[in-house]
């Protein structure tokens, strides 16, 4: 069965004015596809543009240039209220900080049901509450929690509420922006298992943004690595970890400490220096396929070298 593209990001650019006529190129020409039912991991250091990419995809920012197609429909550009609403229902987001992303003055039931109300997904009050109870149970909380307020919950429980809220409108696609970074190790595993189970049961597609590379590898089918607004490498997650090609990816992977004292004693860290490419002025950098499904941002010359080495 051919894989079906759910999301196509084409040459996406997001520039922010930085004053004095200068611009920050937070996302600078990023292209990738996300297939139906997969988890696409987006990694990179702070400031590399990974969160901005996620937020632009869901139209929290108006893209400077480029296209985002969701089921073949452009997300950006002029849209009627009805079209926007439809898109907003199909794409949902889970945020990093479970403390800041829930309104402290709303009960859990109202937080979760807000989307249900907006999209008119429940006809009666009973039906609405029934949905809330189901959602709470789906994410491993119980119905007694519905009338409580966010401050009564721990970080992991709040993240579950955030997930229930995202699920309430029955989305196809969820952008999870560092959903576990603020949680303790033992709780991280709970949330990751929950996300994986929901994906299996509901056929969800995820864009998983994170800087914790071991967790990203575990959860993702494919991973894109970003550096200074550009995507420098994209491959299936096994492949990326086994055969990183771009020197930045190698540096990033070599910097992650693993919970294994034996390997840590012999760790050799690779340092990335953007000057090491020795690009000439005007040299065209393109995202090129080195081995099937494995793309690297490189010059024509590097492409030949990488092909000779890896293909």
């Amino acid at each position: 069965m051919a894989r079906q593209k759910l999301l196509e990001v084409k040459n996406l650019k997001q520039y922010f004015p930085a004053g004095r006529g200068e611009v920050v190129k937070a996302v600078d020409g990023v292209t990738f596809d996300i297939y139906k039912g997969e988890t696409f991991g987006l990694v990179g250091e702070s400031g590399c543009g990974k969160s901005t990419t996620g937020r632009t995809i869901i139209r929290l920012y108006e893209a400077t240039d480029g296209e985002v197609l969701f089921n073949g429909v452009n997300v950006h550009g002029k849209k009627s209220k009805k079209e926007l609403k439809e898109l907003n229902r199909k794409m949902q987001m889970i945020f990093q900080d479970p403390y800041a992303s829930l309104n402290p003055r709303m009960t859990v039931a109202d937080i979760i049901a807000e989307g249900i109300d907006i999209h008119g997904l429940a006809k009666t009050k009973e039906e609405r509450m029934q949905r809330v109870y189901e959602l709470l149970e789906t994410v491993g909380l119980n119905r007694e929690h519905a009338s409580r307020y966010p401050h009564e919950f721990s970080g992991g429980q709040r993240q579950r509420i955030g997930i229930a809220r995202a699920l309430a409108v029955e989305p196809e696609f969820i952008i999870a922006d560092e959903p576990i970074s603020a949680l303790d190790v033992s709780i991280q595993a709970q949330v990751v298992n929950l996300l994986k189970r929901l994906q299996r049961e509901k056929g969800l597609t995820y864009l998983f943004i994170a800087h914790d590379l071991s967790m990203v590898k575990y959860i993702s089918d494919r991973i894109g690595v970003m550096y200074f607004g550009k995507m420098v490498e994209l491959a299936e997650s096994e492949e990326l970890y086994r055969n990183p090609i771009h020197p930045y990816t190698k540096a990033l992977l070599s910097a992650i400490p693993l919970p294994d004292p034996e390997t840590e004693r012999t760790r050799k860290r690779i340092v990335y220096d953007p000057a090491q490419h020795g690009y000439k002025d005007g040299e065209e950098l393109e995202f090129r396929e080195i081995t099937p499904g494995h793309f690297v941002l490189c010059s024509e010359e590097e492409y030949k070298r990488y092909r000779a080495m890896y293909a």
């Binding site: 721990s154 303790d184 595993a189 071991s214 970890y241 990033l252 919970p259 294994d260 004292p261 760790r267």
Partner: protein, 353 residues
Amino acid sequence: MEKILQVNDLHISFDIHAGEVQAVRGVTFDLYKGETLAIVGESGSGKSVTSKALMRLLPTPPSRIKQGEILFEGKDLTKLSEKEMQSIRGAKISMIFQDPMTSLNPTMTIGKQIMEAILKHQKLSKDEARKRAIELLQLVGIKNAELRMKQYPHQFSGGMRQRVVIAIALACNPKILIADEPTTALDVTIQAQILELMKDIQKKLGMSIIFITHDLGVVANMADRVAVMYAGKIVEIGTVDEIFYNPKHPYTWGLLASMPSLDHKDTELYSIPGSPPDLLNPPKGDAFAPRNPYALKIDYELEPPMFQVSDTHYAATWLLHEMAPKVEPPAIVRERMERFADIVARKGGKPRG
């Protein structure tokens, strides 16, 4: 090895409106000269409270050292006056924190902040202090030190700020450096640099480090010994190899198994069910029992004592009692244990426990 610090049966509580939060409930450990001891545990396990107590940085009230002693250079730090403590804090024991921005004063130049630490504890002239400050900046790998002295914290990146904080902490050649999640706010590549820097400086200056973190990768990278804390107690302590390759406490098993390993993609992550106990009303018996799939009946009745596994390895779990049934740890942990004998043999010792 020479013991530089001894913590004996330390109890710390916070008196709050709702009652007494027993944040630290009997912590005992030694710190040896020149070693790195990692303290791991989740938020609320008492690791930060313990380390702040060593520096007497906890405000009283609401905090209260209920019981226990902290022995350093023949003195019990819990009994010292604030004045006496000031001659130790920052001079003999220093501390660095998670967020380098909030540990620096945004309105003071970096140079002034480093010199402040030097002048406070050492009888040096201003010029000598300035020289020393420049040396310190060079030691922590900051280039153009003379120029950087005149700059303010906002002109530094996160990693550079943490280097400055380390420079300040090292200003008086402390015997002990307490690092409370010093790299949690940093990117992995910057984290790697800071960890290398800390190891490097430790080699040069021979100080002991207490490294507090919840990142087991960082622990494996930095630690000589590891103490695992849960609900205000140390539940397991041992050398880094003993904790990672021969863990005995089910909580340590859970922590190790809940990290995704490189070859277990399709299996579900092992997760510790539930959440940590409320220390306002600590449960009877073993505080971990309600989350412990290996819990025995006695765990709900009686707290387990520390059982000795080897000369350096202790764990507080009834599973080590001679009458306890044999249990199988999670698969990922069993694989680690299979490597233990090898690792010990390679190091020229005999496997124990």
